[in-house]
């Protein structure tokens, strides 16, 4: 393992290049742009031999990779926020056509009001499209999960798009030591893409045909089954990754100091780092606190979650998204995972860090000690801002 001190954008772009995609297409949008710029420069310098299609919108970026993937080549795109929402229609299409597109979502808040900072409302909003979603805690994981994503997506039992999510600004903008694997190692881990079907005059197929009511449901069922298969495959790919690269990355759920934990802090993405820090501090004060981090959000690892979380008395689900009019979407799903079970932890929904608001350790310590929380709890809601139409 040799680490280099590089920026997250660069690390992701290099991991992309190492995965040997043949068609790249993406559209600039803050804070994803750095990835696209790095890739564009690699192509301009001739160090990455791929077609870089400079499109006029994310709708087209997603459509370009759809077309290229349908023609049987490995593809890559990246986006965030408004761009991901604009892709949404195409993403459903990519999943429905069972195309193994891999993309990076650099998580950012959604408009209006326009806000370019980090939360996870964007990726959560495309939850039901049939894309696998993996969340990275740091840039190393952003790299490793990307390489794994191709393995998972292109497996003939899966054939679905995989999206690796990285918290905007917090990860790709940061410079830190990252181990970028060698081309030989990646080549040995990731075989060339072997499409099951492709657009080929020698063997014509039709893609995107109409499915009537007597057939449509079955297409959904097949995707759902593939998602279930992914629950088995993801840990296997992680194990193979470790065997090749000597690094444990990936899997479904990470548990941190949960063995005897009474309070569990549950989250996805880079916030886990702050939560681990908090757990350490609270443990030093004598409180039994642990962290559960979902790496896979789709497919949803309910069983794994029950296993890691089952003994905690209380679970705080800290998430950077909200289903307005309900609760945090992750919290809802964690609750559902324990439905009808006893004993089960008391599960609280904490909506935090929306639109890039920093989540300090002190805040989490306070939440962990607060006996009752609103449902959902809007973490660090400012008292000095006038809230039109709201009674405090």
């Amino acid at each position: 393992m040799t680490q280099r001190f590089i920026q997250g954008f660069r690390a992701v772009a290099e991991a992309t290049a190492l995965s040997r995609p043949q068609v790249l297409s993406a559209y600039p949008i803050t804070p994803q742009t750095g990835i696209v710029e790095e890739l564009a420069q690699m192509v301009a310098d001739g160090t990455l031999k791929a077609e870089f299609v400079n499109v006029e919108s994310e709708h087209s970026a997603a459509s370009v990779v759809l077309g290229a993937s349908a023609t049987g080549v490995r593809v890559y795109t990246a986006t965030t926020s408004q761009g991901l929402l604009l892709m949404n229609e195409v993403l459903y299409n990519i999943a429905g056509m069972r195309l193994p597109v891999v993309l990076t979502c650099v998580n950012r808040a959604v408009s209006a009001p326009i806000n370019i900072w980090n939360d996870q409302q964007d990726s959560i909003s495309v939850r039901d499209a049939g894309i696998l979603q993996l969340y990275a805690e740091n840039n190393q994981e952003g790299v490793d999960l990307l390489i794994q994503a191709y393995r998972i997506a292109e497996d003939h039992r899966i054939l679905l798009p995989v999206m690796v999510c990285m918290d905007g600004y917090i990860l790709p903008h940061a410079y830190e030591p990252v181990d970028i694997p060698s081309q030989e190692a990646v080549d040995s881990f990731l075989p060339a893409y072997d499409p099951l079907y492709r657009l080929d005059p020698d063997n014509p197929v039709s893609m995107g045909a109409l499915a009537e009511p007597d057939k449509y449901l079955e297409t959904r069922y097949m995707i759902h089954k593939a998602m279930e298969s992914a629950l088995k495959l993801i840990p296997q790919v992680a194990a193979q990754f470790q065997a090749t690269f000597g690094r444990a990355t990936g899997g479904l759920v990470e548990s941190y100091r949960m063995e005897d934990a009474e309070v569990a802090l549950v989250t996805m993405g880079s916030l886990a780092a702050t939560l681990k820090e908090t757990a350490d501090e609270l443990r030093a004060e004598g409180r039994k606190v642990g962290v559960v981090r979902l790496i896979a959000y789709r497919p949803f690892p309910a069983q794994e979650l029950r296993r890691t979380l089952g003994k905690a008395r209380r679970a705080l689900v800290l998430e950077k998204a909200i289903s307005l009019g309900s609760e945090g979407p992750l919290a809802l799903e964690v609750k559902a995972a324990f439905h009808g079970l006893s004993p089960a932890p008391a599960i609280a929904s904490c909506v935090a860090g929306l639109g890039g608001r920093d989540i300090p350790v002190e805040t989490i310590k306070r939440l962990a000690s607060q006996p009752s929380l609103a449902s959902p709890e809007f973490v660090d809601l400012r008292a000095d801002v006038e809230l039109e139409g709201v009674e405090r």
Binding site: T30, E37, Q82
Partner: protein, 317 residues
């Protein structure tokens, strides 16, 4: 050459307030002020996501002294269509004018479908495109209006590339082809001409399109004191012809008294610096010269003028 932005700005009133956060030497900020001043106060404006929207409206502040709405990057023309329909149904259209605004990316790329739809439906809207020739708000990426060979972060110059491999999309002609009654190009180097064009456009019923050339010191990498000079050189080289079409016919052009070689325009801009580093680069400059010459010929920019713009006499300023 010492006309700077301050001199020009002095002449303006304040429907577009200063104190916004545009960079120094921003051509787009100046362009918007000029358009607003010409439009008067009885207007409703839309703006696409982009620099203009970001630097002018950061809650709780806004530079806009007239009703203004920003929705998304790709829908300025469609949102304006909705505003126009609402004014129509409430009998206010005509007295109140609608102006849709967008950057070159919003207009020529991601919002192009919405733009075409707005023209096609014949809405009574003036669409103003602030053309700084790249996606500046996200840090200088290529757009459909980025000129040939300009180095941007998604069309970088490199060992195997000269920068943007495609010529600038001829958007004014595309709009003309929609049968739009008034189409013009303008430049912040010619504020009186821009003022006249906005007023003329707003006097015409139906869809209108004005594309204003607005240098971006950051993205074009020129000295921020040179914004006006650079804009002027773009016109005088023939690279940015100032033209007016009414009902599909070319009715006026700004003539070039003496042709300036494109090199003088390209040289002060970092986005073209790579062209000056080698012999092959030089031959690329030749290609750009041919493009400028083609414009000059196509629009008779140096011919004798029955088509010349009549001089505009300032009544204010």
């Amino acid at each position: 050459m010492s006309r700077n932005i301050r001199d020009v700005e002095k002449a303006l009133d304040h429907t577009f307030a200063s104190g916004h956060s545009a960079c120094s030497g921003c051509g787009e900020a100046l362009g918007a002020r000029l358009v607003l001043r010409a439009a008067g106060k009885n207007v409703i404006l839309t703006t696409a996501t982009g620099c203009l929207e970001v630097f002018s409206a950061n809650y709780p502040y806004s530079s806009w002294g007239v009703p203004w709405i920003h929705s998304l990057f790709e829908n300025s023309a469609a949102v304006a269509s909705g505003i126009e329909a609402a004014l129509r149904v409430t009998g206010k259209l005509g007295k109140t004018k609608v102006i849709a605004q967008g950057g070159d990316g919003a207009t020529a790329d991601i919002g192009f479908g919405a733009l075409s739809g707005m023209f096609d439906r014949g809405h009574d809207i003036l669409y103003v495109c602030y053309d700084n020739e790249a996606y500046m708000n996200t840090g200088v990426q290529r757009s459909g209006l980025t000129p040939y060979d300009a180095s941007t972060t998604t069309s970088p110059a490199g060992k195997e590339a000269w920068g943007n491999p495609r010529p600038k999309k001829d958007l004014p002609q595309i709009v003309v082809a929609h049968g739009v009654p008034y189409v013009a190009t303008a430049s912040v180097a010619y504020p009186h001409d821009l003022d006249r064009k906005v007023k003329k456009a707003l006097s015409i019923h139906g869809p209108k399109y004005i594309q204003v050339h607005v240098p971006c010191p950051l993205g074009w990498r020129h000295d921020s004191a040179l914004t006006i000079d650079i804009a002027e050189l773009a016109v005088k080289t023939g690279l940015y012809p100032l033209v007016e079409f009414e009902n599909g016919k070319l009715v006026a052009v700004r003539r070039i008294p003496k042709k300036v070689p494109v090199e003088e325009y390209l040289k002060p801009q970092g986005r073209f610096a790579h062209l000056f580093r080698s012999e092959e680069g030089r031959s690329q400059i030749e290609v750009i010269q041919v493009m400028a010459d083609a414009n000059i010929e196509r629009y008779h920019l140096m011919a004798r003028p029955e088509t010349e713009v009549e001089p505009w006499s300032p009544t204010e300023a």
